[in-house]
Point group: C2
Chain length 318, copies 2
């Protein structure tokens, strides 16, 4: 009999999607679901974090709360929606000190405040390990929503910020390398809400998702859902300051940290080339072209070399 460990996270998700018959405007399979409310979509995303799967040792309680909220808002950002609220359910061990819970809760609230969303409510139950399950809600005009599908031949491919920071932070934590900025990036991800709203409002973005599971995986998703190929130029990818140093010290490849690790929570978008300069200005420079939409295959261009892009991402359960 097959277990979840045998089939891995993507297999689990596929099994869950299999017999869902959603008629929602945007159903399972995108960053968030969207419900038609007339002139707007209500965008809904749920993300659960547990000690066992998600939270590096050394994370403070406040960071656990921030993280659990931030990963949800990142999905709202990916659709270009304005966050309106969040609910947060806690499973908590009986022996947890009350002060720890207050710090976790403060982290949740500070993240809500940072993105202008209301903490609407929650639930608490007892369990053997800490689990935080958040649901974020947002609103976006129907004709402005950004989806994973829609990229077109000739579009530019761009990201909203440097990549590999979270991976470098994780590596630094594991190997005892000094890289406080990267570690902070790992433990306190910043949902790109403002960027998402500006990108959506522009009307020039043809597809978007956040880079939760690494750039390569996100490229693969946009490619698959849009039915087009991506050409990514290695030298154009903006990378975090510590990444090269941490990669060298830890003797891991920089490409692995930047392409395949995840945890960066920047947005990956495709857009009409003629809108790039204006949008980059509106985003205060936070838009970096890394390639273009072309053909049917996903490739990485390194100097003169063109290699197929391995779009597998990080998988839980396995």
């Amino acid at each position: 009999m097959k277990t979840l460990g045998d089939i891995g996270e993507k297999g689990v998700i596929a099994a869950l999607l299999e017999n869902m018959s959603s008629t929602a405007a945007v159903g399972p399979g995108d960053d968030a679901a969207a419900v038609d409310l007339g002139s707007q979509y209500l965008v809904v995303s749920t993300d659960v974090v547990s000690r066992a799967s998600h939270l590096p040792k050394g994370m403070t309680e406040w960071q656990i709360g921030w993280f659990a909220a931030a990963v949800n808002f990142s999905d709202i950002a990916a659709m270009g929606a304005r966050p309106i609220g969040m609910v947060m359910a806690y499973v908590l061990p009986r022996c947890l000190p009350l002060e720890d819970l207050k710090r976790i809760s403060q982290g949740v609230q500070d993240c809500c405040r940072a993105v202008g969303a209301e903490l609407l409510g929650g639930d608490t139950k007892e369990g053997s390990e800490i689990v935080l399950s958040g649901t974020a809600l947002g609103l976006v005009d129907k004709d402005k929503i950004m989806l994973r599908r829609g990229a077109r031949e000739g579009d530019l491919v761009a990201v909203t910020g440097p990549l590999g920071l979270a991976a470098a932070g994780y590596t630094a934590l594991m190997k005892g390398i000094y890289a406080p900025r990267s570690i902070k990036a790992l433990l306190e991800p910043q949902p790109r809400i403002a960027e998402g709203m500006i990108l959506a409002r522009s009307g020039a973005v043809t597809s978007c998702m956040d880079i939760t599971d690494g750039l390569a995986f996100s490229i693969g998703e946009l490619s698959k859902q849009s039915g087009v190929g991506f050409e990514v130029r290695w030298c154009s990818i903006p990378r975090g300051e510590d990444v090269e140093r941490v990669a060298t010290k830890a003797e891991v490849s920089e490409e692995a940290l930047i392409m395949h690790f995840g945890g960066d929570y920047e947005l990956l978008v495709t857009l009409a080339p003629d809108a790039y300069d204006r949008l980059r200005g509106e985003l205060g420079g936070r838009l970096h072209v890394i390639g273009r939409v072309a053909g049917k295959e996903n490739v990485l261009i390194r100097g003169d070399e063109v290699v197929p892009l391995d779009t597998r991402g990080y998988e839980h359960f396995r």
Copy 2:
């Protein structure tokens, strides 16, 4: 240093509410939160269930899924909203058979379908025990929403169905007593969505909540939030068929099962007396007067005896 076990569930919730500064239309402290969308409220509720806190042994996987969805929709019902969707996040052990997950997921979907809601999406992560965290969404006209506050002197107090069934089911399971209907009521709670919508539309209901934690606790909540007292007549409370027999066999008091156990998920409402006959008709008889709003204290009338009503409910963590 105080732990969650020291202060109990209500203390945990109080601590979480303490530094929340919600400006939502209906904030934390009611069955669900409500967000102002113009002419309607978006009603949002989250409920998490874990093996350790909630799920009796012997529950099938399908029932786990149904239960996790149903308790969320019950909060939507309590506000009189029409369910529009649900997201469900799963924490699952790696060794869980895939077939078990499929059955859990089927239970979630069947419950969504039963109340006319869309399963919008979800999330899965690995953890040491099964945790299901659902968030249900509903819509209700702003002038029709039912809240825990609003009960007025002279209102009738009523419930939508027999009480004590879930308690009898739990007792039967624990003591090996034959009571399949009660056990089914415990394991497959029915959210009173249709009843909630009819009650809300009537405009005659002044306060409402579901009876998750027992009738006595719900009475205490409506009383506290409305600033009025409740007189409940013991002989008027409709009770499940097995309750008396199970109580006798198990040598527990029928009052404990009916008043203090919970898990029934019927709705408790206060309403204008002149609307009762019409509403009872619209509900096909599923409305039973159990007392009235009077004075400032909560009392239980048993024959000639009038005793204070102990409004404590079941608490996790302790």
